[in-house]
Symmetry: none
Subunit: 196 residues, 4 copies
């Protein structure tokens, strides 16, 4: 009996989580509108009303996935700033480390990334937030004389987001390039430029 009570909840959590997982896959693969609740529940071996036991609506489950992504990413970025190990590194290493972290995260959560970073309406704000975070860091370092003073760090931060956005799609998720390598390349490009 006690068992029953616990079991139920546990099962419920499992189901919810399964639905969430499958939904992520479907949204990521097919987009919001092309994803059907019917498909999700079928894949989860659950009836349609059950779905609504766990989620209020299609939009709601989508939002939840977006928030999940957002949360995780935010935590990550904030932690990344605090990492002790970085302190001993050179500036280049530091920056590369941070970007690697982001790429790694994207690689580990391709579906969430696809949803939260590319498909959601909130993507805009999520990116802005990250961009803003990056900008702050860079400004700090610029103030410390590491970077040329005539560079607009807003543009740099936005550019970096753009690069990450693009390379994540073309080289990380598709091409399977390693996060470290990717980070390295773009940091060198941005730090030293292309001129010989």
């Amino acid at each position: 009996m006690g068992k029953r009570g616990r079991k139920k909840g546990a099962n419920g959590e499992k189901r919810r989580s399964l639905l969430l997982h499958i939904a992520a896959e479907e949204f990521s693969k097919n987009g919001y509108h092309e994803t059907k609740i019917s498909t999700i529940v079928q894949r989860a071996n659950v009836t349609q009303p059950s779905f609504y036991l766990y989620f209020q609506s299609k939009e709601e489950i989508f939002k939840e996935l977006v928030n999940l992504f957002h949360q995780k990413l935010l935590t990550l970025v904030q932690q990344s700033l605090l990492e002790k190990g970085l302190e001993k590194n050179s500036l280049e290493e530091k920056i590369t480390g941070r970007i690697t972290t982001i790429f790694s995260f994207f690689q580990e959560h391709p579906d969430l990334t696809q949803i939260g970073f590319y498909m959601a309406n909130e993507s805009k704000e999520i990116k802005s937030q990250i961009a803003s975070q990056i900008e702050q860091n860079l400004r700090e370092e610029q103030k410390n004389g590491y970077f040329r003073a005539d560079i607009d760090m807003h543009t740099v931060a936005e550019s970096l987001i753009g690069i990450i956005e693009r390379l994540t799609k073309t080289k990380l998720l598709n091409g399977g390039t390693k996060p470290e390598k990717l980070a390295n390349e773009i940091v060198r490009l941005l730090l030293y430029g292309m001129m010989s």
Copy 2:
């Protein structure tokens, strides 16, 4: 004679073009699925069947807009390579010129850009095509010794696309930054890097 020549389609062409224009706005603003044929025709003061007089389906009109964008962009990029004026310029000026051209084009056709560069399935290929074009140019210039030999031009080209993609959204179409300024900033960034 004049009458005869105009006989077929003058009016129809106008309607068609109006529908196309409105559709571009709607798709651009609301996305494919949220755009309803009913809205388009209402705005054009036409009945629904009229729509099907000019376009085979919702998908078809969307595709037409994507193709329009693709065509125009391709022409632009190819012309941009041939422009005489550029010959006398320095490398930096040349590259800046080319990127300015792209930004200007996007600015002139915000709806088409939104559709063809961001929303369409074909976007992937369109960007790849442009990236590939850019890569070729850069390689050439690299061969001529303008750029460091150890830089992977594929990554650079992709990065550039990413930057363009992002800045177009955040600074060009939204913020109203001038194409020239934008191009200038990113070219300087990529050529000389951030290091002081």
Copy 3:
């Protein structure tokens, strides 16, 4: 001027007749509902409103084709009864001749036959009429002692119609069997039966 007046009418007749011909083909091939006015006018190189210059509606042109078939068939059957040549023939030859006439007619007008004999609502009545005509003939001959008295000529007539109906489809229009041969076979079957 006189020329013009005549020309117009002549052209009109030609067009009308062309439309009628094409319509027959389309109806025969695709059935009533699957046949689109748009297809007919396209094939005839005519605009849609022109169609309505010659025919009141889709139904009307279909009916006209049915009537055409009906008329021709009726004329044929009535003539067939009067044919002098038959008088000298034996009964078997006479009957065979009549049926051959019908098969030949169907073979010459496959589209009209398909429409009037198989597709139209009126088919029922057309067939009944022919059946009734045949029945009368047979009764006459029965009265004259040619046929067994205990045979119900209504059933025979209906059966004959059924046979004609079926063989026209399977052996005449499709298989290309000759009208004479077909008529011969079924007349011998009906007259002498299968028993050895």
Copy 4:
């Protein structure tokens, strides 16, 4: 247990079957195109989407009816060949029995017959199949010397199908003539012919 077993679908099956039944009536009465889903669901006291709960499309439900007819008819014809009772009968009785069986079936399922035997595209093949079955039987009996050797059994089989087709419409379904009587008449006609 009983409850559990019934749990899934009892009600649904009823609805489905009701829809199927009504659809048969509508198709049979009005033909494929004139039959509207809206009419079917109205008559079944169900909303339109419910229809799509049970059938994929209008075409699908039509096909299902055709298959139903086909299946039943096939089973019937095959069983009819095996019937023990026939063995003791004379040839005439045997054949009459078989044809009676077919007529009876048509009489019991007038809507399915109308659909599967007259309206469907597959009708052609269904009839061919039956014709072929009949032909085989007759050939066998011909080989055994019951029938004249110079008779083409293909033509006979096709003729018989034609007769059945026609008499079913005019005398069985409309006129209400008894299957036995009908079968008797046509068998006698075909076996002994009309000549006195």
